[in-house]
Amino acid sequence: MKPCAATARQLGLINCHDCHLLITAAQAKAHPHCPRCGAHLHLRKPNSLARTWALVCAAIILIIPANVLPITVTTTLGAKQADTIMSGVIYFMQTGSWEIASVIFIASVFVPFAKLLILIFLLLSVHFRSVWRPKDRTTLYRLTELVGRWSMVDIYVVTILVALVKLGAVAAIEAGPAAVFFAGVVVITMFAAENFDPRIIWDVIEENV
């Protein structure tokens, strides 16, 4: 891929994250601040790869209990029933509610896993200094950032159900332990995506050139 123009890094310039002022890197001290808005200045997001790896690892660990443990505990006339995310999807599928099943599946199962896989893929590609389709990889990153927060839909559904269905002995829904872990997964992957600096993808290519 042919680079179109000189980057700020090549020119020794730092872009302020907040007010986007261009500052000469040479003027910067060990911990530079933006002369205009006072924000911390970094050439790239500091420690981006390590931080992203750490958060991705944490998300991978948390996603296991999030899917294995029950996310809701439904009590109907004394009969307790615990449902995991997947069993809920299967339940809706079996009862014929394909729409709800697909929404829950996409928001709660597909998206978190896809996000994690994309992040792992991006991290690995950077790690091995891959030059493969940097543009597409950047698209993937954008997708990750865009879609990440929608996974919280499941948590919203659970909280709303818990608040709504409180009919004492007749029917009651309680949040299961998986809800906490699932929320953790969503938040941590959002942070992970945030911490990943897509410019690194391009840095590799420019260095190669």
Partner: protein, 548 residues
């Protein structure tokens, strides 16, 4: 590329610090790992045994949902439900909680709790809404096991319930069902927990459970009887209806008590002790006699109303019962006979007099029944007769009587049985007497009597005619004469009236005479008084007034 002269000096001074130090962010995955690890550890440490239970049907069971409950506490959950190889059974795999191992032994019972309505009880109503669950009755006794066979019917008694099991032997099950109540003085103290045929299929073994503290009431002498439903018996004693409670009417029941004559035994019956289940209460009162001697009675009269089991009595006390009735035809005499086989229980007889004689008598009664019956028949004229036991129902019984004026008979033998001679029954004898009277009446020549009677009547009418002529004579001849006589008599009476009338001379004279007579009598009285006071006056005459 960096050929721009304006930016070069600025770019050249750029210092890029790339430090490769341990990021604090790694704490996040470490915390996550710690939580995950703790969860995993907890899951593994709390993981209980996995067991399989075989049921005949998975009705109401759901994989991943159905719970296993012990005393209504959840201790497990069904994981999978699958058919066995030949699809005859359902194998349920369940995960139990940690700590349930001690209760999973080969004596542990599993059953599906569903709504049930049986006999006198309704159970499992809660499962109508909540769905079925698997009940477990854990027992610490026995060896550890992981594969179980589920019961189709919930056990009536849980293993740890204090009490005692007993086995009752009965000829038939009757209307007894699992869960049927067991009563002691009409209080429910236990239940029927199961029944089965015995080894050779000739009797029924009924397992019952008596709850503590009532299980100590069952002693060696206790008698159990079937208290099912209405016991309506129509026998020689009349109509009898017996029942324990409404539930026992519906679902059968068993009652027990101690027989009075044997009294309360000291020994409590042990676990799984075996008892005989009597058919009804009255039969428990009867002793079980071990010795039975059989005799034949030959009747040549109707035995209608005599049933097998009818009592054989002597002096109104039961001595045995009828065990068989037959009808036989004798080709030689061309007659029917009814041989009735009776069983006599000699143990019912006790002996009188001193101990030595008693023993002698009992020895004779029990060990030499032939000699005993021979003495009775040949010397005491023992005879058997049919007697009406119940006039209402027409039931018959066999009565043994001593008939002093009966023709002598000797004890004979028939088909290996001693034959006790019979006499016609009391009713039969009454009939016989009546027929004799009728036969005698038949001998009377009623037509001759009629002829004679006619003759008599003829004579009587002739006599009456004579009477008629006599009466006529009286009327025509005697009556006028009588009238004349009466008129004369009247005249005479008038004259008589006149002659002795009020002013008649006869009347006057008679009055005078009477006056004089009374004066004379007064004088005589005076004389008598004088004589009484002064008897000397009769000789010396009246004394003078002066002396007085």
């Amino acid at each position: 590329m960096t050929d721009n002269p304006q930016t070069e000096p600025q770019a050249a001074e750029a210092v890029i610090q790339s430090k490769r130090r341990f990021s604090i962010v790694w704490i996040v995955p470490l915390v996550a790992l710690a939580i995950g690890g703790w969860l995993a550890f907890k899951a593994i440490s709390e993981k209980g045994p996995t067991i399989t239970i075989t049921f005949s049907t998975a009705d109401g069971l759901e994989a991943g949902k159905t719970k296993i409950k012990f005393k209504d506490v959840e201790i497990g959950q069904v994981e999978t439900i699958a058919l066995n190889e030949d699809a005859s059974k359902v194998i349920v795999t369940a995960k139990m909680i940690k700590g349930s191992e001690p209760y999973l032994t080969n004596q542990t019972k599993f059953w599906v709790v569903r709504p049930r309505i049986s006999g006198g009880s309704v159970s499992g109503l809660g499962t109508v809404f909540s769905g079925a669950y698997i009940g477990i009755d854990g027992s610490r006794a026995g060896s550890s096991a992981h594969a179980f066979i589920g019961l189709e019917v919930p056990p009536v008694v849980t293993i740890d319930q204090p009490g005692r099991h007993f086995i009752l032997q009965a000829d038939t099950l009757g209307s007894i069902d699992i869960g049927a109540p067991v009563y002691y003085r009409q209080i429910q103290v236990g239940q029927v927990v199961g029944y089965s045929l015995d080894k050779d299929g000739k009797a029924v073994d009924i397992q019952i459970f008596i709850e503590a503290p009532h299980h100590t009431r069952v002693t060696e002498n206790t008698r159990f009887w079937n208290a099912s439903g209405f016991d309506v018996s129509l026998n020689a004693q009349g109509l009898k209806v017996e029942t324990q409670s409404m539930i026992s009417i519906l679902s059968g029941g068993i009652a027990f008590d101690v027989v009075k004559e044997t009294g309360q035994g000291e020994e409590e019956a042990k676990e799984n002790a075996t008892f005989y289940l009597y058919a009804d209460r009255s039969s428990t009162q009867e002793k079980k006699y071990t010795v039975r001697n059989y005799y034949a009675l030959l009747f040549d009269e109707s035995v209608r109303g005599l049933n097998i089991g009818a009592p054989v009595e002597i002096y109104g006390i039961k001595l045995g019962e009828v065990v068989d009735l037959k009808l036989e035809f004798d080709i030689e005499t061309k007659k029917f006979t009814v041989p009735v086989i009776v069983a006599i229980e000699p143990e019912r007889i006790s002996a009188a007099h001193s101990v030595a004689q008693k023993e002698k008598a009992l020895k004779m009664i029990e060990h030499d029944p032939d000699a005993f019956i021979k003495v009775l028949v040949e010397q005491q004229n023992l005879r058997a007769q049919l007697q009406s036991a119940n006039l209402l129902t027409g039931q018959l019984m066999v009565n043994l009587v001593f008939v002093p004026d009966a023709p002598k008979a000797s004890l004979s033998s028939r088909d290996g049985l001693r034959v006790v001679p019979t006499i016609p029954g009391s009713f039969e004898r009454l009939q016989e007497g009546l027929s004799k009277i009728i036969a005698n009446l038949e001998k009377v020549k009623f037509d001759q009597i009629g002829g004679d009677l006619q003759q008599v009547l003829k004579d009587a009418s002739a006599t009456l005619k004579q009477f008629g002529t006599l009466a006529k004579k009286l009327d025509t001849e005697t009556a006028p004469k009588m009238q004349a006589t009466i008129a004369e008599l009247e005249k005479t009476l008038i004259e008589l009236q006149r002659s002795i009338g009020k002013d008649s001379p006869l009347n006057y004279n008679a009055r005078n005479t009477l006056e004089e007579l009374s004066q004379a009598l007064r004088s005589i009285r005076e004389l008598a008084d004088t004589l009484e006071s002064r008897p000397q006056s009769i000789i010396f005459g009246k004394e003078k007034e002066v002396h007085e």
